[in-house]
């Protein structure tokens, strides 16, 4: 049993967590970051670059910058394979018990794996535990896991990252469809929020497909297109020329003769159907798997959508000295998550000041 003391403990080593450590370091505050997995970077580690003629500002490569900066910051210590099991607050200090996780043999050059049960004493805690991608099996009608050629956006992303594009029959598809808002803006699931990033990443992936496989036709089934920055708005009209934008949410995806068959309502309200070589489901962001456990452990509120931390303005939660950064607090993009950590770090630093002042006054 080891005991470490640090002003701030950060849970989660995705872009938000690493950025929180850096934001604290920039303020001169040391921290310990505990990541439950073997490596830092979270989901973004598996993302590909979506630049075509130029960078499309997806933000994925900022992870490289973050890790390079983290390496040069002695204030931040990184622990991998460390999961928080218990927490209690005593005399203004959080005592968090970290348990080592099974080693998957994929060490991170920056992070030191947790060797044994460790108690961390910290004045403030930042939760940066990320999100859970929506599991499309819950929307059985989209045929995921059942209809060959239906995959998640994350799977498509990984495939494109390898420079590969294959559809239902193992061949490069003649046509690709994206279905948006899978698991978001969905009353039947109770997910009454927009995931913010999926319009952007889907159309960026569509651009990548159009560049690498220009013969492939791309269809974009959507309700609305969300904004993704000024240059994105400028690029939208061009995308509309290269990509078929269909404003309709498909009713069903079934196995057709030449790949997955998508049924949807045409502009006249009449049912239509089309077959595609590949159908990608733009899964939304849902609250992190550990949201329930952590909200209990740290006496923390969850917002209406189930994400951590209720006070929208401050990233400060109900409990003392607990702050939330990144997608753990709500859907946001990579760069937004990186920046959002500044707010948590600033608030954590302020709470340290306050505690210091109180201690000084007896």
């Amino acid at each position: 049993m080891t005991i470490i003391s640090t002003p701030v403990l950060i849970l989660g080593g995705g872009v938000a967590g690493v950025s929180a450590a850096l934001e604290l370091a920039r303020r001169g505050v040391p921290s310990v970051l505990a990541e439950k997995g073997p490596r830092l970077g979270g989901r973004v580690r598996d993302f590909c670059c979506k630049a075509t003629q130029a960078c499309v500002h997806c933000g994925a490569c900022r992870l490289g910058d973050l890790l390079a900066e983290a390496a040069a910051r002695p204030e931040a210590a990184f622990r991998s394979l460390a999961l928080a099991a218990e927490a209690q607050r005593e005399g203004g200090v959080w005592q968090v018990e970290l348990r080592p996780q099974p080693d998957e043999g994929e060490a991170d050059p920056l992070a030191q794996p947790l060797a044994e049960k460790t108690t961390v004493n910290a004045q403030a805690v930042i939760l940066a535990v990320g999100y859970e991608p929506f599991d499309p099996r819950r929307k059985t009608r989209f045929g995921y896991g059942r209809v060959p050629g239906v995959m998640t956006a994350l799977e498509l992303e990984a495939m494109l990252g390898q420079g590969v594009l294959v559809g239902h029959d193992g061949q490069p598809p003649e046509s690709v469809a994206f279905i948006q808002c899978v698991g978001s803006r969905d009353e039947s699931l109770g997910n009454l929020y927009c995931s913010r990033v999926c319009c952007g990443f889907a159309l960026d992936m569509a651009g990548l497909i159009k560049e690498g496989w220009p013969e492939t036709a791309v269809t974009f089934f959507h309700m609305d297109v969300q904004g993704y920055g000024p240059s994105w708005e400028e690029a939208l009209p061009h995308m509309r020329q290269a990509i078929d934008f269909v404003r309709a949410m498909p009713g069903e995806v079934s196995a057709g003769e030449n790949g997955p068959r998508v049924c949807f309502a045409g502009p006249d309200g009449q049912p239509r159907s089309r077959e595609f070589g590949l159908v990608a489901l733009s899964q939304g962001l849902t609250p992190p798997a550990s949201a329930g456990a952590l909200s209990e452990m740290f006496g923390l509120n969850r917002n209406q959508d189930g994400f951590l931390g209720e006070d929208a303005a401050l990233a400060v939660s109900g409990a003392q000295g607990v702050f939330v950064a990144g997608t753990a607090q709500g859907p946001r993009g990579i760069v937004e998550s990186i920046d959002h950590a500044a707010l948590a770090a600033g608030a954590a630093m302020e709470s340290l000041f306050r505690a210091g002042k109180e201690a000084a006054h007896g």
């Binding site: 670059c49 500002h57 490569c61 929208a312 500044a342 600033g346």
Partner: protein, 616 residues
Amino acid sequence: MARVCLIWVERPGLEGLDPAEVAKRAGLSLDPGGAIPAAVVTAPEWAAPPAVRSRLAGKPAQWLDLAGEVGGGPAEKRLARAAAAVARAAGRAALGTLPQVYTAQPAQTVLVAGAGLAAVAAARQAGLLGHPVILATPFGRAAQAGADDEAEEVSLLAAQLPAQVEVLAEAELRHLSGAAGDFTAELQTPQGAQLKRFGAVVLAPAGGYAPPELGLDPELAKPVADLPPEGLAGSPDKWLQAAVIAGVDAPATADAFARAVEAALALQARDFVQTTLLFSEARVASEGGERRYREARQAGVIAARVAAGGLEVAQGGRLLKWRDLLLDEEVQLRPDLLAVAGPVAAALPAFLANPVLWPAWPQLVPEGPRFSGGRTARSGLYIIGALRGTAPGRARRVEAAAAAADLHDRLTQGRATPVPSVRNTACASCLTCVRVCAHGVPRYGSDAIVCAPAACVACGMCAAECPAEAIAPPGWSNPELIAGLEAGLAKSAGTKAVLFACGQSGAQAFAELCRQGHEWPEGLLLYPVPCAGRVGMQLIMKALSSGAAGIMVAGCHDGNCRSVSGNLRARLRAGETAALLERLGLGPERVEFLHLASNQPRRLAQAVDRFVSTLG
């Protein structure tokens, strides 16, 4: 030339390499212990044991991420690659350290010019970090909110301003020049004008509504914030028709859409009022946006989707016509009340229009992912809030917090900010460096180039372009780079090729491939550079004349350079060199530029393999 020793720090990825053999091949001696004149260490500084670090303090040392340069493959090839990398680093270490020339201390005072949530939050954060802050507001008090700020939130923060924050009321920032650590600002106040030196500057002018150009009568069309008027209600015989416009010519931003939805809900809640919400896209990505949009429709607000640009406005807005996309028919509305969720914008400060002192907006505030958190290309200048187009509320506090931490870090040297050395005796006063530096570091003082003390990011672009070899960030002058090139190429085997790899993209991708055990072509010499922009024509020609058969430069994708144009400059220089080689009959294919991101190792591996194979 100083004698260089190899200090071997064992790291994952170096397994199986014999330190003595690497040292021998590189022509160095292995660390004999005790005092040494200069060293190459096989680990980056942060990963080296403290004893090694303290032993080398003040000594010329090259910290090498050797594991990130060797890669996999047969032992013999790894040994050769390791020896070439160590020799390259030793070539630089042998030159010793160049003394710093300019040692002015960065100014610590922070200027926050503006008002509203962003300005007050930034002033507060910078003050909490210990900086003296001047909050120069055009208004009479600090608590004044911008058009889209929550007035209460701003007052609350303004009441909590730390003691270090001095509020300068009715002040205007007339002129600004300089960069981090050394800004000069002219502030106009009722008491007169004053010139002051600042370490960092945050521009955060308050936003005002910018009504869309739809030909609306301002008597009828009001900004959503001003609605609904007190006591507004219709009657059972005469329902009032209200219309809220939320981006019909072009889609609204998510926060403008959210404001429109709030206004529509408030109007609809009045007795006998029917509200129609007109928009081209439902921009529901704000927090709670989708929920409120649904509530509005459930409350009876009519959601009318208009094709972008498809709203016909007659009689100043008293008659609206559009084609309903769902019903596919023409619809008309005669609103009694019209609310517009116009975007909120702030006026560009006049001094930024000076093309001599300031670059155009897209170069000053690039949209790339590296310029978030209020950062601009000009080191130490932050532009936040409405002027930046940032959504109100939390996004502005986020920006303010990020900007404050970044400026604090810069001004307190938390991040080692290098200061370029200038050889005044060699300088031709051509001002190339002043033009080239995207971060605003060098400027022409009374009779010499002077560099702002906390602003340089060591991209090396000035060094690449200076015709007199008179300026370079520490460690990246031509002599140092050339010594490394010559020494490294001398120890490379097979077909020699040099890969200049940008630290933001190429070098990271290279290191990742090495960790995966990628086997590089035998004679490939990696030369990590801080930015592709460091690689000018001289370096490429030098590499060729030192025995390289080909040179590849791997830099960031167009639009993602940390120094705005280092990648484009490098691509231009590579192209020019290739054209020159063609004229000389030496084969233009020997020089190539590759656009890359740090997360594209596979792309790098393929490009290098193809490139080296064409060299034969």
